[in-house]
Homo-oligomer: 317 residues x 2
C-alpha cells in the first residue's frame, strides 16, 4: 500500500501527477482537511503537500493527528505557522532555489517592461496611433537602464539571480539583506539606505513577520520620481495602498508586480494604472521550475517516509 | 557665420537643439530638399544630417551641389546609397554603438515579454479573470528561459550586448555572422544552422542588400514551434509576410518586434496577433542614447568642417 499524502492547497491536476504515481493522494484542494475528509480518513495521514503561501496553522495540523511532515511546493513557507510545527514536532520542507531562475527572469521582465513602458508602446503600435501625422509624447525619449542603480532587497537564491541578470544591463547593483555577503555588489546597511541609493528596487526578500509591509510610503518616497519597484516576493512585503498612492501621484515612475496583497485579486486602483505591469504570481511558473520543485517535493516525501531527515528542510523548522 | 547643415529627415525638435547651437540648420523635415528650399539656399550647404534608414539616393544628393558629408543620426545607414556617395566623394558618418545598450535592452525586453507572455498575463490580471473560480489555461506552465538556446544573428556592437545580456539568463548563446570572433559563444556557420540550433533568434544584423529578407519562411520553420523571433535591426531583414504566417499557424510560438517593413506602420495581420509584442522602433530611443548619438553627430560635423576625416565614418564609404 502506498503511503497517504494529503494535498492541502489547490493545485492544478497536472502538477500532482508525479506525486500520485508514488503516493495515495487525498486531495483537499484548498478546503479544510476535515471538510474534505472524515477524521477516520485523516487519522493515518503522516505527510501533506501545501502551497507555502497558504495559511496553515495549528488547528489544521491537528486535524491530522499523525502529521509528521509538511512539504511546501515552492520556495516559500510563509503561510506555515512554524511555532505550531515546532511544538508538534512536524518537519517542514520546501523547494529552495528550484524556481529561482524563473522568478528572477520574471523580475527582470517586469523591470524592463516597466522602465521601457512596454505595455503602453505596444498599444501605441497596435492602435495605429504610431502612423499618426504628429509625433506623440509617447515617443519622447525616456531614461533607460544603462547607468541605473538597481537595488536588490534580499540576497537569497532569487536575489542573487536577479542581481546577476541585472548587472548584465550595464547597471550598478546594490543590495540590502540581514547578512552582508562576499558578492561583487555594493552592500547598503538598511532598506532606507538602499532606497535612497537606487532608482529601481527589486523586492526579493523572504516574506515573514520581519519583512511585513517593509516597503512603505517612506521607502517609496526615497526611491523617487524616476524610480521603479518590482515585487516578485509576496504581496505582504509591500504596503499596497501606499504603492497605489505613490504610483497615482507619481512619487515613483512605475512598478512591476507578480504578487499582490490578496491573491488572486489585484485591486482596481492598481489595474487601472498605465504605469504598472502586472503578472498573476507566475514568476516561478515555468515547466522547468515545476519539474525542479516536484523533484524537491518527492525527495522530501521519500526521505520522510524512509525515516530520514528532509533533504530540503526549512531552516530552523 | 555658422556653417549651414541641412536636416534631411524629420526629427523631433528636441533632438536638434544641440546642433542648432553650433550650426545654421535648414530643416527639410523629411521633404525633398528642393521642395523645402530654393536652389540658391541649398547651393552652399556642405553637410546634412539624416536618419540612416531613410532612402537617400544620388538625386537628393545632387540637389546640394557642394555636399561633402552625410551624417547619420544613429548607427544605421542602410538608406544611404553608398555607390552614389562614393561616386560624388561624399563622406558618410554614423553613430556606431551610441545606442547599442538601449537597443540590446529592448531586444531582451521583447524576448522576455514574448517568452513569458507578458501582455496576455497582464491582461489576465487587469480583466479580473485571474480571480475567476476555474484555473485558466493561461496558468499552464510554459517553457522559460533557462537552458534555452538563443541565437544571435549579427555580432556587431548590438549583437554583442544582446549576447552578454542573454547569457545572464542561464541560456546557451550561439551566433552567426560573416566573421567568427573570439567570443565565448558557439559559432554556427550559417543562418540556417543557427535557426536549427536555437529556439530564440535575435536579429541584430546590419540591414543591407546582403541581409535583405534573410529571415524567411524556411528559417522560421527551422526555429520551430517552441521558438521566438526578436527583431531590433530593420524590418527589411525579415520577410514580414512569412513571419505573420508563421505566427498565425504557430510554426513559431511568438515574436517581439521593434522594427517593421513599412514604418511607422505595423500591418493589421500582425497587430491582431496575441503572440507578438510590438514596439514603435524605439530600441535606441532613450535619453542617454540620444546624448551619445548627438555626440557622434557633432564630432562628425565638427571634424568635417575643420577639414578632417570623420571620426565615425561608415566603413568603406
Amino acid at each position: 500500500m502506498p503511503d497517504k499524502v494529503l494535498i492541502y492547497s489547490r493545485f492544478p491536476k497536472a502538477q500532482l501527477v508525479r506525486f500520485s504515481e508514488r503516493y495515495e493522494l487525498l486531495n483537499a484542494a484548498g478546503k479544510r482537511p476535515n471538510e474534505a475528509y472524515s477524521a477516520a480518513e485523516l487519522a493515518d495521514v503522516r505527510a501533506m503537500i501545501a502551497a507555502g503561501g497558504a495559511p496553515l496553522g495549528g488547528e489544521a495540523m491537528d486535524m491530522l493527528p499523525k502529521l509528521g511532515a509538511i512539504v511546501c511546493y515552492g520556495t516559500g513557507y510563509d503561510g506555515v505557522d512554524l511555532a505550531a510545527t515546532a511544538k508538534r514536532g512536524i518537519a517542514v520542507g520546501h523547494s529552495p532555489g528550484a524556481n529561482a531562475a524563473s522568478v528572477a527572469d520574471i523580475a527582470v521582465t517586469l523591470m524592463l517592461a516597466a522602465v521601457r513602458r512596454l505595455l503602453v508602446v505596444d498599444n501605441y503600435v497596435r492602435s495605429g496611433d504610431w502612423a499618426g501625422r504628429m509625433p506623440s509624447p509617447m515617443m519622447r525619449p525616456q531614461a533607460g537602464m544603462r547607468g541605473r542603480r538597481v537595488g536588490v532587497y534580499g540576497m537569497g537564491e532569487i536575489g542573487r539571480k536577479i542581481a546577476a541578470r541585472v548587472a548584465a544591463f550595464e547597471t550598478e547593483v546594490g543590495y540590502f539583506s540581514r547578512t552582508k555577503y562576499d558578492l561583487p555588489y555594493q552592500y547598503l546597511p538598511s532598506l532606507e539606505a538602499l532606497a535612497d541609493w537606487c532608482s529601481v528596487l527589486m523586492v526579493a526578500v523572504r516574506a515573514g513577520p520581519e519583512t511585513n509591509q517593509m516597503v512603505d510610503a517612506d521607502i517609496l518616497r526615497r526611491i523617487g520620481g524616476d524610480g521603479f519597484v518590482v515585487n516578485i516576493s509576496r504581496g505582504s512585503v509591500v504596503d499596497e495602498t501606499a504603492l497605489v498612492q505613490a504610483l497615482t501621484d507619481q512619487t515613483i515612475a512605475g512598478a512591476g508586480l507578480d504578487v499582490f496583497a490578496e491573491e488572486p485579486h489585484a485591486p482596481d486602483a492598481l489595474t487601472a494604472l498605465p504605469n504598472v505591469v502586472l503578472s498573476p504570481h507566475l514568476g516561478g511558473h515555468t515547466l522547468d521550475s515545476h519539474v525542479a520543485m516536484q523533484d524537491c517535493v518527492l525527495a522530501n516525501l521519500d526521505a520522510f517516509f524512509a525515516g530520514k531527515p528532509l533533504p530540503y528542510q526549512v531552516k530552523g523548522a
